[in-house]
């Protein structure tokens, strides 16, 4: 990423919600999250169980939490605490929706394996997403989808990965 774009992105976003977009702001949000994790570990019974070598079961996880808190603390007060990373500055509602939506879509496709079968779900996903992203011609998108599904099915078959075939194949097999 070039320096000029960095500067541009920064100045454009400088006004709005800049506190939360700065390193310090994000560090504060992370701090809340990490402290919540730390608290939940501290309050659980297992964490205080003493093992036969004298260490507590929660000891090393708490070291991890402690180190995270320490680093977040440094992040909140070091020289670059007020800096807004250009990538953070460019985050919009759209990008959050796209990322979360993409993950949910993958989860749905994974569940679809058991409903439609592996190959149809994969074809649907690949072709559908390519087309939705503006890829043309349609037949190449469909062929890529089917090709990917076929290749992955073949690998799964060879490696003994149990994948659901779905109702279509069952119908074919009788």
């Amino acid at each position: 990423m070039s320096a000029s774009r960095k500067g541009g992105a920064m100045s454009r976003r400088r006004g709005m919600s800049s506190v939360w977009r700065s390193n310090r702001g994000i560090a504060m949000m992370l701090l809340v999250l990490v402290l919540a994790i730390g608290l939940s570990i501290w309050q659980s019974d297992w964490a205080h169980r003493v093992l036969r070598d004298g260490f507590r079961l929660g000891g090393f996880p708490m070291i991890g939490v402690g180190l995270m808190v320490l680093c977040i603390g440094v992040l909140m007060f070091d020289r670059r605490a007020r800096l807004i990373e250009p990538e953070v500055a460019s985050v919009t509602l759209l990008s959050v929706v796209v990322v979360l939506g993409g993950l949910v879509l993958l989860l749905v496709i994974f569940q679809l394996y058991w409903l439609l079968g592996f190959a149809p779900s994969v074809t649907l996903f690949v072709a559908g997403m390519a087309l939705a992203l503006g890829f043309r011609p349609v037949w190449i998108a469909l062929a890529t989808g089917a090709g990917t599904a076929l290749a992955l099915s073949l690998i799964a078959y060879l490696l003994g990965v149990p994948l659901p075939h779905g109702p279509l194949l069952a119908l074919v097999n009788g």
Partner: protein, 320 residues
């Protein structure tokens, strides 16, 4: 789903507690009429995986159906076990296991419990061997006992949890105090012993044979004496703790199915696996792997499984 619908038309044995709706019924008469899934709840390449693949290779010939190995490791082998329970109780899904899954389900609250399985049979039961470097002050049983009594807790003994459990059990019965150190794998424990970082290691017979004369076998901590062939490979008669009046810990490799599977089907499966095990080709493959077939039928296998569970409940707290 489709599979079960087809089956429902055939016979009368009703499996209770089924996850699938309706009274699906399974046929014992024409069992097995389709391929059998064989779950290995460990990573591919381990001892159980090799056993499973050897048994699977004899499926078509001796059981009349092919056996497909399905590796489903995770969560101390309970992911594979949970998968077994999610399948219909029709005998077409079985799982290979050992002390490790039993240890997992007995040490933690899990969706799977120790009783959630019907044992088909035991295909092998190896004796764990306690080993030391040759020439040490504890290189045979008597001097080891003398050393441990003179220096309580000084003797450091390494092994995996399942194998270390045998040390904990025998030492507890003998009134000895040892410093038992658990390792994620036998290889790591043996390396530390060879390097002199720990005093002794408790290993599987295959590892013991592989070590050759780099180490000496101090005792057999298993539940039965070694076969003559095994003793010959280990370079002499290895004293068995059973002869000294202690209960050794069995390390059974069992095969289990869904607990609701009809007994007739389990018996047929047991018979089929037995035929595979008795085949000369299987025997020679197993021997090549440094192991031996020690078969127990359904009834005695279930009892051995339950006994092993009791032993774990008694001694596992010593290792935690």
């Amino acid at each position: 789903m489709f599979k079960t619908l087809k089956m429902a038309t055939v016979s009368v044995v009703v499996a209770t507690g089924m996850t699938l709706g309706g009274g699906a019924a399974f046929a014992a008469d024409d069992y097995p009429s389709q391929a059998i899934q064989f779950i290995v709840p460990y990573s591919a390449g381990g001892g159980q995986d090799r056993w499973a693949r050897v048994i699977a290779s004899g499926g078509s010939e001796h059981l009349g159906q092919s056996i497909n190995v399905e590796v489903r490791p995770g969560a101390g082998s309970t992911v594979g076990w949970a998968h077994l329970l999610s399948q219909p109780a029709d005998g077409y899904t079985m799982m290979i296991g050992s002390l490790s899954p039993q240890l997992s389900v007995l040490s933690e609250e899990l969706p799977v419990t120790h009783d959630d399985i019907a044992i088909v049979n035991i295909v092998s039961d190896f004796n764990v061997i306690l080993m030391s470097l040759p020439g040490s002050d504890w290189a045979d049983w008597d001097s080891m006992v003398a050393y441990a009594e003179a220096n309580p807790g000084a003797l450091t003994i390494g092994g995996t949890v399942a194998q270390a459990l045998a040390v904990a059990a025998v030492f507890d019965q003998a009134g000895l105090e040892g410093n038992v150190i658990t390792y994620p794998g036998t290889a790591a424990a043996v390396t530390d012993m060879l390097g002199g970082h720990i005093d002794m290691a408790v290993v599987t017979p295959a590892s013991a044979i592989g070590l050759g004369d780099q180490a000496v076998s101090v005792a057999n901590l298993g539940a039965r004496p070694n076969s003559d062939e095994m003793n010959a490979q280990l370079g002499g008669d290895v004293p068995w703790v059973g002869d000294m009046g202690y209960d050794g810990l069995p390390q059974p490799r069992w095969i289990g199915v869904h607990p609701d599977t009809p007994v007739e089907i389990i018996d047929k499966l047991d018979e089929g696996i037995r035929a595979i095990l008795e085949a000369p080709s299987t025997q020679s493959l197993i021997r090549a792997l440094g192991e031996e077939v020690i078969y127990q039928d359904r009834a005695s296998a279930q009892a051995a499984y339950d006994r092993a569970g009791d032993t774990i409940r008694t001694y596992l707290p010593l290792l935690q």
